[in-house]
Symmetry: C2
Subunit: 516 residues, 2 copies
């Protein structure tokens, strides 16, 4: 396999899983040529005129869809760790002796540990998606037959749209659906809020199967997934474990350290004028992020300021801001708690979005760049502001990219991070895996100081007399090393176990096998 | 030009406007091969990161979009006879000396008479769409340089999706839009309710321009048109004449003859069991159709029956049914009055649809076949139940197809028609232009009797002891001729002035030049 150094200095192969790939060329430097993937033209002739596409079981649907060796099967991760569908798909594949499948979920979770047996016996050749927990460990140890490919939410849409990944069969679990295939995640026992991660699959897959445990008479309203893209529908007893789909109890951190990070972040946004009338923001669903939202809300109330919109992952704190009139809209990509689901079902100003609208880099613009500020996490950040979200410092691939890369295009990107975790520095010389180029990351907020990217002179000017503890990123790194010692490098082999795609489909980095 | 006899016995050319076409092969007999149209892959690199795609004028937008000779320019007809955009586009084209354009609106109206000068001077080579009024007359008289092509709403989506018509520049007028290009027809001075007729254009055109007289800060909610498909946005002073967009006063007919037709139609649906718990229906916005809805409502109330959904064109009568709980949902393709607009803006159960969801024959099913009954109009129907909606008996092409062909796939199709108009028979030996094959048309209701298609033995059985005046279609024709005399045939030339496409893109008939 040939390796080349890409634009951020990482050695990456020119071929992955037997297909040519393009090394990262720099932010905004690669422009696609050619046409979007063109699905075959279907005809109403081949579908029941009365709109009833129901078949008796998932197995029958997969057989009718032509499941066979080497196919690409996609699922979405709106059920998170409560998904009951993906495992069944591959149980059926095993039963039918189908081999060499590519599983292309929008993300995988610990509940999919069940699939390791199929990765071992050749039913599944590889997973192309984030792998949280056990599957990530399995992959990191070099045990997967194929090479994993990790993409951001927007990158996944881009890959499907551009024909980089051709989905043979998409299986879309939905809390609510009708026999025609219209579906949403809003009503029923297995509510996931929305189904945006399955949008590309519905539009571009050859065959689309919608499964639900809540089949309603046509029309299922709203149709987050349009039945006109669907081949078969299946009524199942149970498609998800509700309490694992939605946490129900997303909580603000109680850790004083993290609260400090959140407070410093909010204060930074205040003094630099980011929090102003009509502004927009995105925070994640972690404890620190939730706390940032709360601090934002307090500042906004005190100043009598209203925001135009917040991007979700929604949760009860954002919903409260919407209901109190602190923001006009929530533009939501996934609901993280039951308040999020309720609000989305009830409130027309709580709007469901998709990776297409929010994140697809190969479209005529997307929402990410419109955001005034995003607050993100990272496992590591380095002295060039490059950041890592997929591997730990021990080299293990344990997290997905999510919308993280896509969000880097917002006007200001802030990473509130502890300076070290378990006595391992978070600010380092060089990150284990580059997921985002430093030029897009503006501010690192740690409990021991705030580092602003030298590119952002405007922010430095605005923050310098604020009383906030400004430091250089090198100072932060040195401080971390003073406390924890120089971090030891993980022992990695040569084998590439995963490729990290940039938002434009190029390869920004790879993950190598962990040797011990 | 070579002509062949198609499956319904009409002589049609194998080539139109220099392109090969497929003669109609029979209902459900033609299946497309190949792939959907694949637009070029855009990149965020080419769009402003902050999402602001506003340019100063429509002219600037058209120039930036690369307007040049021979291009296809599309517009939608949600503004109906109040459209102020299409004329300006071609004024600009004229000013820029651009020639030989194809105008591809979703329909044209009398307000576009202004464009006749451009059809004459070669700015516009042809119109591919329905042509109501003056443009239809112009075309009928053989004066248009190219051949018109008429498609149903679903057929237009199909043609764009399948790459049969490649749109170079789509101009989408919207009552409400944001600088990114998200747009809807719901809020502002030029409300049209929805923008579904522009959906295909937004998805498949090379360049998309959104113009509005009500630019709101991002995000424009809901986004009936997604800004991610949009290249440029333009703020204009006035894009439509509100009182001509929405009538505001859709009224039930007061004509005793038409009321009788409506009453007979409703009674027919009652006695044949079509009106039952959970049923669905579609009626148009004409005076007779509105009256049918009212009769339906009365029957439903009397029987304590609830319908699952009605398909619009919505109007105050349908809205009342929704608000009174007589139907669960309105699935709406276009709003015909202000109550329709208001309801769609307020009521989540008043759902906007598109030609894709409702009518596209080249999809994995559509909504039309799910409908229990549709009530449609026609200019003529013949003894084989073939019907005409585009030409009058004098040969003039004066109407569009609308969703009419698409609706023929519903479970029962009823045409309430006067037996004659201005002493010209409506039931004839052979229709001037076949728009819909008789095999899909079930019932003709006239003031002098009801003819049921012999194929529908089930309906004949159910209706025979109802007291309704059942007759054969020949009896109706004879009766019409007895009163009006045998109709004279129009004098037509050889020149084909327009082709009528079937829902699958094949040519079901042509319209020939009217000689006097």
């Amino acid at each position: 396999m040939e390796f080349v150094k890409n634009a951020i200095g990482k050695l990456v192969p020119t071929e992955i899983n037997g297909e040519q790939v393009i090394p990262f060329k720099g932010v905004g430097k690669y422009k696609p040529e050619g046409k979007k993937h063109a699905p075959y033209i279907p005809s109403n002739v081949d579908f029941p005129l009365d709109g009833n596409k129901t078949v008796s079981s998932l197995k029958e649907a997969l057989i009718k869809a032509g499941l066979k060796d080497g196919m690409t099967i996609s699922t979405h991760h709106h059920f998170r760790n409560g998904d009951l569908i993906a495992n069944q798909i591959f149980d059926i594949a095993k039963e039918l002796s189908v081999k060499n499948l590519r599983w292309f979920p929008s993300a995988s979770f610990p509940c999919h540990e069940h699939l390791i047996q199929y990765l071992e016996d050749g039913t599944i050749q590889r997973i192309e998606a984030s792998m949280n927990g056990p599957l990530g460990k399995f992959c990191s140890e070099g045990k997967m037959k194929g090479t994993a490919v990790l993409r951001s939410h927007g990158g996944r849409y881009q890959a499907v749209q551009d024909g980089e990944v051709k989905i043979d069969i998409a299986v879309i679990g939905a809390a609510c659906a009708d026999p025609f295939g219209n579906a949403n995640g809003l009503f029923g026992q297995s509510t996931s809020g929305l189904l945006g991660f399955a949008l590309a699959d519905s539009q571009y897959a050859d065959k689309v199967i919608v499964v639900t445990d809540n089949m309603v008479p046509f029309p299922c309203i709203p149709w987050q997934i349009q039945g006109n893209y669907v081949d078969y529908t299946v009524k199942m007893n149970k498609i998800g474990i509700p309490e694992k789909i939605i946490s129900g109890t997303t909580k603000i951190t109680k850790s004083p350290d993290r609260l400090l990070l959140a407070e410093m972040t909010a204060k930074f946004c205040d003094v630099t004028g980011i929090i102003q009338e009509g502004f927009s923001f995105q925070t994640g669903a972690g404890g620190t992020s939730l706390a940032v939202s709360e601090y934002f809300a307090n500042i906004m109330k005190k100043k009598g300021i209203k925001g135009r919109f917040a991007r979700g992952g929604s949760n009860k704190y954002l919903v409260k801001m919407l209901e109190e009139g602190l923001i006009d809209y929530i533009l939501d990509g996934q609901t993280f708690d039951l308040d999020g689901v309720r609000s989305m079902a009830e409130n027309p100003n709580h709007v469901w979005t998709s990776p297409f609208t929010s994140y697809n880099y190969h479209s005529k613009g997307n929402f990410a760049g419109i955001l005034d500020v995003v607050i993100l996490g990272a496992t590591e950040v380095d002295i060039n502001f490059n950041a890592n979200v997929v591997t730990h410092s021990d080299g293990y691939l344990l997290h997905g990219i999510g919308g993280w890369q896509n969000c880097l295009f917002s006007k200001t990107v802030i990473l509130p991070l502890p300076l070290f975790r378990d006595r391992i520095p978070v600010v380092v010389d060089e990150v284990t895996t580059v997921c985002g180029p430093g030029e897009l990351i503006d501010v690192i907020v740690t409990e021991r100081g705030i580092a602003i990217n030298p590119k952002r002179k405007d922010l430095i000017d605005k923050a310098k007399n604020s009383g906030l503890p400004l430091k250089t990123i090198r100072e932060l790194k040195d401080e971390a090393e003073k406390i924890c010692g120089k971090p030891t490098k993980p022992k990695l082999g040569d084998k590439v176990v995963a490729a990290i795609k940039w938002v434009d489909g190029t390869v920004i980095d790879v993950v190598r096998q962990v040797l011990e």
